[in-house]
């Protein structure tokens, strides 16, 4: 039953030689064998390399070498992060069989800590979606209720953690893609400050918004993984050269005097009453613990969804231009007349519906005559949203809201209605636009499905949101697990 434990619990056992990395690895694969056919969290399992990595870890431990917190810990990686020698598809037909010749920095940093990679997780194609239904290789199912979606786009990573098919996972978050699936699967997910984690080797969706982050079973694990993956990287010029604290130092169960702002825009229309009630209960608990709660307003945040669905597709349409069937990836097998014909047929066959829709939307928003009205205006609205957050953070240490407006929805429920699907991210998108950090932690169950609480912080103030999240977790004690 080792697969049920957390990173910090397993670290102790490995360090004290109560268990071996090999035992742990085998235990996780046994769990995968038992439940993966129901959950479908993985696109690719790398059992052979995992076992040999675990073996190497055990040799190191035997020799008395120093053991880091992540040494020997099984991890799952979202399939939009390049892994040298291991297929990386972004859940897209256009990248099927693509085998990177280098690893992304975040993954490399985990390898440097001697993690044991279990496999690559399912996602919405190119991270575009909120349900993992947009995967070209079939959806992942929510371990809490197999008729519902796990959220997305990092749905495979969140479901794998929730189902104990890994000890932790990495996800990526452009508009909520770590926090929303973490919320729907009852686990912890953090989107760090933009630039805290290098994006090198993360297949780009919207470069000014994308950020890699941890998906874990508890807040302590979140801090441990964040410690390992953050830092300036010469390969990503947008990564931050910031002084990085030891995030585990933030794990203090004390929120006395902490000023929490609750944006009323995140508690109104569109939020399921059950989600709202659990959020209010959570705020009450914070108050009991000594925090100061006040309602605030972020007046422009209501425009965030619109701004996002112009900015993100615009950046995507430009980023995804690289998939042309020339240097890597799929190329059409049809007869072609010229290069444009080859590009157009390759892309038509290789991309799924949602990706095409967003490329079309972005290309339109950037095209002559519409640029100022759409993209230009959206960028100005982005400034207004950033100003709203800055003003709020003059007075408050953190902001709190629901992560997702609803609990996990049924498979197919929003699939044919893009606008409805896009609404899944109304509470998470503003955080990406502002570049600030946000975390989702479980705050209860509604009708047997998890509800997530979002805590947002100032730029580079992961420490305070981790402290608030940790304090809440200790006090609330969410112990429920899905039954599979």
């Amino acid at each position: 039953m080792l697969h049920k434990l957390t990173v910090h619990e397993l670290h102790k056992k490995l360090k004290n030689r109560e268990i071996s990395a090999m035992e742990l690895c085998r235990d996780v694969f046994k769990r995968i064998e038992a439940v993966e056919s129901k959950v479908k969290a993985y696109l690719n399992l790398t059992e052979e390399t995992a076992l040999s990595a675990a073996n190497a870890v055990d040799e190191k431990i035997k020799l008395g070498e120093e053991v880091s917190f992540l040494t020997g810990i099984p991890a799952a990686i979202k399939d939009n992060m390049c892994t040298k020698g291991v297929e990386t598809t972004c859940a897209s037909k256009i990248l099927k069989n693509f085998v990177p010749v280098y690893s992304s920095t975040a993954v490399e940093k985990l390898f440097n800590e001697d993690i044991v990679m279990i496999g690559k997780t399912n996602m919405d194609e190119f991270a575009m979606g909120s349900s993992t239904e947009n995967s070209a290789f079939g959806p992942t199912l929510n371990p809490w209720n197999l008729k519902t979606v796990p959220g997305g786009s990092s749905g495979g990573s969140a479901a794998a953690v929730a189902a104990d098919e890994t000890i932790f996972a990495l996800g990526s978050d452009t508009g909520g893609s770590i926090r929303q699936p973490a919320s729907l699967c009852g686990v912890v997910g953090m989107k760090p400050t933009y630039g805290l984690v290098s994006r090198y080797g993360l297949v780009a969706f919207a470069s000014s918004l994308d950020q890699i982050g941890p998906i874990t079973k508890d807040v302590t694990d979140c801090a441990l993984v964040l410690n390992a993956i953050c830092g300036k990287d010469p390969m990503d010029s947008t990564s931050l050269d910031a002084k990085i604290p030891n995030y585990t130092k933030a794990l203090v169960s004390d929120v006395k005097g902490l000023k929490i702002g609750v944006p009323k825009e995140f508690m109104g229309e569109g939020i399921d009453p059950k989600v709202k009630r659990l959020t209010e209960d959570a705020l009450e608990l914070f108050e009991k613990m000594g925090a100061i709660i006040e309602e605030i307003s972020l007046p422009h945040v209501g425009q965030a969804l619109s701004a996002y669905y112009l900015i993100a597709p615009a950046e995507a349409s430009s980023n995804l231009a690289r998939f042309d069937g020339v240097r890597y990836g799929y190329r059409t097998k049809q007869k072609v007349e010229d290069m444009v014909d080859m590009y157009s047929k390759t892309r038509a066959e290789g991309f799924g519906n949602e990706v095409k829709r967003r490329i079309m939307l972005g290309t339109y928003a950037l095209s002559t005559g519409y640029y100022e009205a759409y993209y230009g205006q959206a960028q100005k609205v982005r400034t207004l949203i950033i100003n709203d957050f800055n003003k709020a953070f003059e007075k408050y240490d953190v902001l709190v809201s629901p992560t997702s407006p609803t609990v996990a929805f049924k498979l197919g429920e929003k699939f044919e209605d893009p606008l409805k699907m896009y609404m899944s991210d109304i509470c998470t998108i503003p955080v990406n636009l502002a570049g600030i950090p946000g975390i989702s932690i479980p705050c209860g169950l509604a009708d047997g499905l998890p509800v997530g609480l979002q805590i947002m912080g100032k730029t580079l103030d992961e420490t305070t949101i981790l402290r608030a999240a940790y304090a809440f977790e200790q006090e609330f004690g969410f112990k429920e697990k899905p039954i599979l």
């Binding site: 010749v101 490329i359 290309t363």
Partner: protein, 94 residues
């Protein structure tokens, strides 16, 4: 804001996507819907507001122009869908 089928065809060409008739119709309808919603931001007064293209105040980033090891030809070509004699092969252009 209605996006006509003709506009969809124009944008599809710019985006290098060959669309079926069914897709053209579907995207015409869906893009119109999405833009009708997203287009609401046009009503907002943004006079004097600077646009943000990036959440961080990053300007140009420079580094020394130093020789470094890079991918080998074999590695660089390892994922190419068609290659010949150490080069990427593409359909005839002229």
């Amino acid at each position: 804001m209605a996006i006509s089928k003709k506009e969809v065809e124009h944008v599809a060409l710019l985006a290098r996507l060959s669309l079926s008739e069914g897709e053209k119709e579907k995207f015409s309808k869906q893009l119109s819907q999405i833009l009708e919603h997203a287009g609401k931001i046009a009503e907002l007064n943004t006079e004097g507001v600077e646009p943000t293209s990036h959440a961080l105040p990053i300007k140009n980033v420079f580094r020394e122009d130093e020789e470094k090891t890079c991918l080998s030809q074999k590695e660089a070509l390892s994922n190419a869908p068609a290659k010949e004699d150490g080069m990427i092969k593409i359909p005839k252009i002229v």
